[in-house]
Amino acid sequence: MSQHHGPKPVSPHAAKVPAGPLPAEIREKIVELLGRYPSKQAVTLPALHLTQDRLRCVPPWAVEEIADLLDLSPAEVHDTLSFYGFFRPATDPLGKKRLWICRSLACALRGADQILDEAAHKLGVEVGGTTADGAITLELAECIGACEAAPACMVDDEHFHHIDQDGVLDKLVGELRQA
């Protein structure tokens, strides 16, 4: 579940998180999704995804706005949000790209723990942290289902395979820095 415990220092790039309200098109998409489900609450996860995709975090004002659109209490939205370590607070938003390195069994048997350490060293951040330029957030992942290509990682929601091969991780990190 939550990958972060205890108070975290405010990330340097947190200042860039915009104030509300949610952009009109995000609000419209949320309202549009209401037709798919017999309850408004079911739009909670899709709404959180739309918000984080845009803002790289889910600020408290967005929680209130989503709650308002879904006829929920902000506490109900927050209850769901806080269950998934996936969503980021405004004090610690994701960088432009999220690099997740899988550490579960199939990847670990092929060196995932070292790669995670290596990536942290290369990026100069701890796992969970974001580079000072706000380009890359490094996270660990539990099994991402790319075990035949272990060790593997994800950039946002796309898989990258065999990242232990020479230069693959360097090249990927280089590309992410430019993104």
Binding site: D79, F86, R103, L109, R110, D113, E142, C147, E148
Partner: protein
């Protein structure tokens, strides 16, 4: 014996079939067309039930039987939830299905929805499958444009909507009632059963939750009939009246220390040894295997001498594993420390326990702490019996938790200690495994728990 001709993976190397046009040109949606025009929903259910298809998600419950549990004469909504959360470590068979042959899965979804009289199907897919999610969405869009989804499909009075719903990286969403809670917009805390979803599921309505591989099988069963399906796999054990058999083919995932990791479709019942030696290319670096997990982390561990078990619904149980699980085999070689393997597995479950039931939340955390201290060289001999005691007391089977996550967290602990006790003892005495470790699995700064 002639090589088995893949059924579910027949379009693995036909990327043109990812489009509706290509899939149709390859014979796709013919079965659906015939079923909608010539069969009643109950006839579809009967075919699936008589074929003996069992769920491919892990529990192996008979699919057609599950469908018959829906309340009779129900006039309200029924939902199909497709469980593509696939988060069991070392498992990726459904990723192949949705990335390589999305229309096969969708044909199964539409057929199943017709059989259970669902008008809405939710395709719940783990966030980590971004590519597969987009492939499925494109295929769904094509179906709406072609009148194969939406109102009055193929001019019949059957209507169906399919909506993609993305998860947010939580293992527990693969538990069917956790999935339903997550779909409804709440924390994915599994529900107490009964009522089972067929009676009261999504949005408190009758709901069937099926795995994509299960649904893909439905297409071929309706097309070729139950007798064909039963010609594949393993019939029930005559000595066990409760055995429903292991019919059909299965997608086996192979990973870890093997020369050719990958996916292969075979009739149920291949031995773990054949899977490793023939299909996985043997153990890497010319080494020997020390052991394997036969069906995802939660099924427990089997030793190399146990590799002759058939990977059907009964085989892994014969060597004390929990079951076939997802049929995802991960092999570790002789140089790997069993402590490393168990530490990795315990870390996973401690991270993924949803926290609802105290025995699981605390038990998985304590098992990790104890294995971690053993790994660090600070273990005590009594730690082994403490671990076994904790593992025995958490789960549905001892009756202390709501879902099976804790059983699956305890099983690797119990099987590892029972089967590799000497190695654990040696590690506790000497602080290092015999022969050292090359797996490099270590206490990482990135442990993150």
């Amino acid at each position: 014996m002639a090589a088995f001709e893949p059924v579910l993976l027949q379009r693995l190397n036909k990327p043109e079939c990812k489009t509706l046009e290509g899939y149709r040109a390859d014979g796709g949606y013919r079965t659906l067309t015939r079923a909608l025009k010539e069969m009643s929903p109950d006839q579809v259910t009967t075919v699936v039930k008589d074929a003996g298809l069992r769920g491919r998600g892990g529990a192996g419950f008979p699919t057609g039987l599950k469908w018959t549990f829906l309340p009779k004469g129900n006039s309200g909504p029924v939902y199909l939830c497709v469980n593509c959360d696939e988060s069991e470590p070392c498992t990726f068979n459904n990723r192949y299905l949705i990335e390589c042959d999305p229309h096969q899965v969708l044909e199964g979804i539409i057929l199943a929805s017709y059989a259970i009289r669902a008008r809405v199907a939710y395709f719940y897919v783990r966030y980590e499958y971004g590519t597969g999610t987009r492939t499925m969405q494109r295929a769904i869009d094509e179906l709406y444009a072609a009148g194969l989804l939406g109102k009055n499909i193929l001019g019949t009075d059957f209507s169906l909507d399919v909506f993609v719903h993305r998860g947010a990286a939580a293992y527990i969403c693969g538990e069917e009632t956790g999935l339903i809670e997550s779909l409804e917009g709440r924390r994915a805390w599994p529900r107490i059963k009964p009522p089972f979803p067929a009676i009261e599921g999504a949005f408190r309505k009758p709901t069937i939750v099926n795995n994509p591989e299960t649904l893909a099988n439905v297409v071929h069963i309706v097309e070729r009939g139950g007798e064909w399906f039963k010609s594949l796999g393993v019939p029930p054990d005559p000595k066990n009246p409760r055995d429903a058999g292991s019919y059909g083919s299965k997608l086996y995932c192979i990973s870890g220390h093997v020369n050719r990791p990958g996916i292969v479709e075979l009739p149920m019942g291949v031995t773990l040894r054949e899977l490793l030696e023939v299909h996985g290319g043997g153990v890497w670096k010319g080494r020997k295997a020390k052991g394997a997990i036969p069906g995802g982390n939660s099924m427990g561990i089997c030793t190399e001498p146990e590799f002759d078990i058939p990977l059907d619904f009964n085989g892994p149980g014969k060597v004390g594993c929990l079951g076939l699980g997802t049929a995802a085999v991960t092999v570790f070689d002789e140089t790997t420390s069993i402590v490393d393997v168990l530490h990795n597995i315990c870390r996973f479950f401690a991270h993924e326990s949803c926290g609802q039931c105290t025995p699981c939340r605390e038990g998985t955390a304590w098992m990790l702490k104890i294995v971690e201290r053993i790994k660090r060289g600070q273990g005590r001999l009594e730690d082994l019996s403490i671990l076994e005691e904790v593992a025995d007391k958490i789960g549905i089977m001892p009756g202390t938790t709501i879902c099976g996550l804790a059983d699956g967290a305890g099983w690797p602990v119990k099987t590892a200690i029972r089967k590799y006790r000497d190695e654990f003892k040696a590690y506790l005495r000497e602080g290092t495994p015999k022969g050292g470790t090359s797996s490099g699995m270590r206490l990482s700064m990135a442990a993150g728990h």
